[in-house]
Symmetry: C2
Subunit: 341 residues, 2 copies
């Protein structure tokens, strides 16, 4: 099982990537890594982590790195030799089965789309994030691969999200909902109303619109939205979780009683913090590209890199892409078919 690691992407790269790679190799004996990045920067890190002469590690040089402020198209225009583009090319050439990157999300989407191409019948890829709720995890799709979407895209995202909920979360008949501003089919914007119509006639467990106000009480197993909304939702959730920990700390340090209380319940706080911890999965799959791609969090730690590599290995085992392509055909979400209706 060969996984290409973009070692240059992420706030703490390449250090965090290499330490994470070491941890992943220790944990997953079936995995080999193709580490992509600038060879001069990687050499000392590989040596320090005992990977310089490891037979499960291949290093591929990439001269460039896409920086956060650059446009998404940098990976396929100005910087064709960037680490993410080289990694995506390895997958397209069959030299690796998946790519893991914690770099510029837009650049990763562009590079994988252009180099790996899309699954048959899929118009656009989408990022599927696993989110926590009161009654277990659910899939949010699209969490930010696209800033503008057509109804046909969201219909395909719904089907791909359904497959992920089945395979990865083990939900037999996932309830699929469209994120909107009201429950009834008349509520929403032009995009959601159109998607509602399409999904209503498809052989999936479509439960209609899902409102923000019940999302974390888990009304649906798959919540479908356009990437702009999904990204704002995902990121602001993270921001609120951070603020909540701040408020808790503030409230619990107001007097000795409360501080004693906090001390007694120290483990409870730790558990709370772990609920929304992105490091647990390490990243989110970009579904719809013809080859696997895991998008890591910008501030990925070694642990996050390790888990992102593990996630990629799981999807390889599951034959995720075959399942996606099959289900797209089966449900009639295929681009050509949908456009006809």
């Amino acid at each position: 099982m060969k996984i290409a690691l973009d070692a240059m992407g992420g706030d703490f790269a390449p250090e965090a990537a290499i330490v994470g790679a070491r941890q992943a190799l220790d944990l997953l004996p079936e995995v080999s890594l193709v580490i992509v990045g600038h060879k001069d920067k990687l050499a000392p890190l590989l040596r320090d982590n005992g990977l310089a002469r490891c037979d499960r590690v291949e290093v591929v040089h990439a001269e460039q790195t896409v920086m956060m402020g650059e446009p998404s198209t940098a990976s396929i225009r100005a910087k064709k030799n960037s680490s993410i583009t080289v990694a995506a090319t390895l997958v397209s050439e069959g030299r690796a089965e998946a790519v893991v990157s914690a770099g510029h999300t837009g650049a990763a989407v562009a590079a994988t789309k252009v180099r790996m191409r899309l699954l048959p019948g899929v118009d656009r890829p989408a990022i599927a994030t696993i989110m926590p709720s009161q009654s277990g995890p659910f899939v949010l799709i699209d969490a930010g691969a696209n800033v503008e979407s057509e109804p046909i895209n969201l219909v395909q995202f719904a089907v791909m999200g359904e497959v992920l909920a089945k395979i990865f979360l083990g939900i037999t008949n996932p309830r699929v909902g469209v994120l909107s501003v009201g429950e009834e089919d008349v509520k929403g914007n032009d995009l959601t109303k159109e998607v509602f119509k399409h999904l209503s006639s498809m052989p999936i467990n479509f439960i209609g619109n899902v409102e923000g106000k019940v999302i974390f009480q888990k009304y649906a197993d798959v919540v479908v939205c356009d990437g702009f909304v999904g990204n704002v939702l995902l990121k602001s959730t993270e921001s609120l979780a951070k603020a909540t920990m701040f408020w808790l700390k503030e409230a619990f340090s107001k007097n000795t009683f409360r501080m004693t209380g906090a001390l007694l319940a120290k483990e409870a706080f730790k558990e709370l913090k772990e609920i929304g911890d992105y490091e647990e999965y390490g990243g989110a799959p970009l579904l719809g590209v013809n080859g696997l791609c895991i998008i890591g969090h910008g501030s990925s730690s070694p642990k996050a890199f390790k888990n992102a590599i593990r996630l990629a290995s799981k999807f390889i085992k599951y034959n995720l892409n075959e399942c996606l392509a099959k289900r797209i055909q089966e449900t009639g979400a295929d681009a050509a078919k949908l456009k006809k209706t």
Copy 2:
């Protein structure tokens, strides 16, 4: 100071509305209420709350109520005698200065827009919600008055939000940001990019794009977005807060140590719960209509109604609408001027 109360709107109306009205009258000696609703349903409640013969209360009969499942246009088409439409008409006729409603949001927006009309230079109204953050409250605008918006609308929302932050939150030179998926001006969708351009050239303290990931750490005092995104953000925040309290309870009841801890810090939990409590303000102003309108939360309690009435009285005192209209002209956000550029 006369305020029209839609007594039929909200999950717990008319009971909660009338009890809240009584509390508001006790608290605010300068306020008189015009209570709008079905007279047969109101009569026993008014009697029980000592408002049947109160000289600061006038009752206006409304035969109908817009129900939650109905389209927004019900208030101005099928149900012209609904409580919200009658209340809005009172303001347009000068018989009240503001309307307070916890009913169907879309119906309230439609009724006030049609009956009261818009402020000079404003194309569409927007709901401005006060949200908590680590460093104090900020304004989120539009929180759901519109499901589709043009750049010109968001530009005007920005200016109206700025006025609210000045007047209501007491911030001298509010930092205004556009909610987007990246900091740089090239990041975002067509709508946000266009808004970014307009706001950059206006005499306001525009700080550029604001990402979801910093929203509750308060990067901006005014966060501008379209109503679909704003509504999803507002509602899902509420949902996450609820889930967090659930997780906290779960984590703190796992063993006796933790339970003792929770007992010692009981007040801390209470404080945490109060941070995001919508009852504190009671509602959010609909900015841009020519007359004041406070939109209450669907599940408004008597306390929420009381505070919504208080909020309306404050805005009357502040001459909010005059300030809005003046600032729209001053900044060149006037519809006619903007369309020319």
